[in-house]
Subunit: 395 residues, 2 copies
């Protein structure tokens, strides 16, 4: 039993970014390029704008957003899109960039302010109903520059409201990018630390979506393939970021894991990550890496078969031992992965105190709810006490 919807139009390979002009021709005549500030005045950006220009597409650039984009930054972007009379968007950047573009594409098309479409809590303290994007969204082309968010291949975006200290998001079929251009050349410059953080994001998408009971034969195939390729490329991408073949494998793993969120969802890791990010400004990938092995240890007695498949995908050399033995090795494999990618921190290293745990749990109960399907459909539905134990184990 189940259901999934997916739209994918993915072009991938080294040098594909050069084809952005041709690939965007069906999307519109005037592009708003939302690009990571890193690319401002870069050759890459100019090359893409030239490629657009050759196809008769004019473009303007918007750089005015930050990591974990705020709804007010999206609103600024929408005003810019209208002022410049753009008819489609191009995102060149990591997950924050693509998500800013998605939220702007939707808000520009439907009117109003961004938070109306993602907020469950409003500035006056009321719990509101999210506005539906009846008119869809402006067309979007996504060029990811990290192998992490997978946002180029799914229908979600994550938006923060710093004034309310809430991280929320929008999920809608209209948010599938019309074209994803996955070019590993755009990723070779990413520093080791960001490569590691974003890699744990990709791993968590594959892992969490697979551990949901709503996983299907389709999503299982994508999740395990993604984990297999992460196992072959993650450490190498951190240690030798200039290796194009390694970056390409990571990029594909991330895109597959990103699709998988459209097929199922994320779960415990991302749910705990929300307050860690909204309240303590931890980097998204760090919020996931820090609790990952504790979550797996908590799951261990319950979901042996699935955890064994994850372990075997991550480390094929494990073959030959029983499923229980494979599963039992997974927390250790993940700790090794963190060590090799130099992501060693515990929660305390990010300024979180044990006395903050109740406040983190309150956030989860208020903004997600323990009866949300993303938690109740997990291989093991967590109680508040379970989440508390996982957080304690992550210090």
């Amino acid at each position: 039993m189940g259901q999934y919807s997916l739209f994918a139009n993915v072009h991938f390979g080294a040098g594909k970014a050069k084809e952005t002009g041709v690939l965007c021709r069906p999307l519109g005549r005037r592009a708003c390029m939302i690009a990571d500030p890193f690319f401002q005045d870069s050759g890459t950006l100019k090359e893409i704008q030239n490629a657009l220009s050759k196809q008769g597409i004019s473009s303007v650039c918007f750089f005015d957003f930050h990591s974990d984009p705020d709804c007010t930054e999206v609103d600024k972007c929408v005003a810019f899109i209208k002022q410049e009379a753009c008819d489609f968007l191009i995102a060149l950047g990591g997950g924050s960039c693509i998500d800013t573009a998605k939220a702007a594409a939707l808000t520009a098309q439907n009117g109003g302010e961004c938070w109306e479409y993602c907020g469950q809590v409003f500035p006056d303290g009321s719990n509101g109903v999210m506005r539906r994007p009846e008119k869809g969204a402006l067309p979007l082309a996504a060029l990811p520059t990290t192998a992490g968010s997978g946002s180029e291949a799914n229908k979600g975006c994550v938006i923060s409201n710093r004034a309310l200290r809430v991280k929320s998001g929008i999920g809608s079929d209209c948010l599938f990018p019309r074209v994803a251009i996955v070019d590993p050349c755009l990723m070779t410059g990413l520093p080791p630390r960001q490569t590691a953080y974003t890699g744990f994001d990709a791993f968590s998408h594959a892992f969490e979506s697979y551990m949901l009971n709503t996983t299907t034969y389709f999503s299982e195939a994508l999740a395990l393939q993604s984990i297999r390729f992460l196992g072959e490329s993650f450490v190498a991408a951190v240690q030798n970021g200039g290796d194009l073949a390694v970056r390409e494998k990571m990029a594909n793993a991330s895109t597959l894991a990103g699709m998988n969120i459209a097929l199922t969802d994320t779960s415990v890791g991302h749910v705990l990550g929300q307050p860690l990010s909204a309240l303590f400004h931890m980097v998204h990938g760090a919020t996931l890496a820090v609790t990952l092995d504790s979550i797996v240890e908590w799951l261990l007695p319950t979901a042996t078969e699935k955890l064994a498949r994850v372990a075997a995908a991550l480390c094929p050399a494990l073959g030959g031992v029983s499923a229980a033995q494979q599963a039992a090795r997974l927390p250790e494999l993940l700790r090794e992965l963190k060590k090799k990618t130099d992501i060693g921190g515990r929660l305390g290293d990010y300024g979180v105190k044990k006395s903050d745990i109740p406040c983190i749990l309150d956030y989860v109960e208020e903004h997600v709810g323990l009866s949300s399907p993303v938690l109740t459909e997990y291989a093991k539905a967590p109680t508040r006490k379970d989440l508390e134990d996982i957080l304690h184990a992550s210090f």
Copy 2:
């Protein structure tokens, strides 16, 4: 390097057909149901029509087509759609039914005759240019009743022209069904022989698409997952067709394999199958089963790693031996599969004579061409002599 586009909106599980009304509500107000004649006057058909009716959708039925549908049957269907002023289509049947519906949905929307969109050869003997479906296609819901064609999940349809003795088809993004309803309850009545034939179709989709060099990490994941589940369910589905769990696994394997054709393509088996079907009226599944082990034996020295993965997916018990040993076991595994599913025939059993081989090869050269990417991008690009050897070995 590569590219893929995919649209999927798949609802699956026992009893899902009952939700056809709700799921079709966004598609239109008046449905043309194209159904296998087997369902005429059936409770299943009435139940679906009642479900539509409850949603305010009226429906009329069209049963006037045969296996390997002819373009003239599609034209009759188009006339019926217009006469009845239908605004969308529902296909309830096997691959021939869904393909009739796809071709009709496209022709009805764009005008003219079906063969204009699929023929490379025209009645006057000229080689024409296929007409492009500029206006897309009427929306289509597909309810497959066999686990074979995978047509519910891809953008192709195969249409014959009996007057010209040619089998061709259409491939276009507009042919992705808007919704696929994969209900194993619709499949439990399929007799063992048809279950076996259609199962070899599903296997061939997964196998051939994976053996193309254009396979991606994405299509590889789907292909091997499909083969894994076929390994677990195919024989059981033939021997005990009433087992819903087994039928559901087969159905999922077939849908995944069908998607995979949209990601890559089919190859040698389907290319040889075209003349066997067009000239000798062999059932599609039989054309594939009869050459399958010969094709694998011909591939063997070339594509060891890939063949080993296929063998291991089909029969996980093979694990522990070398890749070369796994690959070498594949022809035997496939012969065993044919034996257990009671598909024992050789080419001679279907009325084909060895003296027909040149004529089969001429058909391939004329209607596909040895320089077509579906052949040149195969793990081993076949020469005319290679195809001749494969056919000889299939007698």
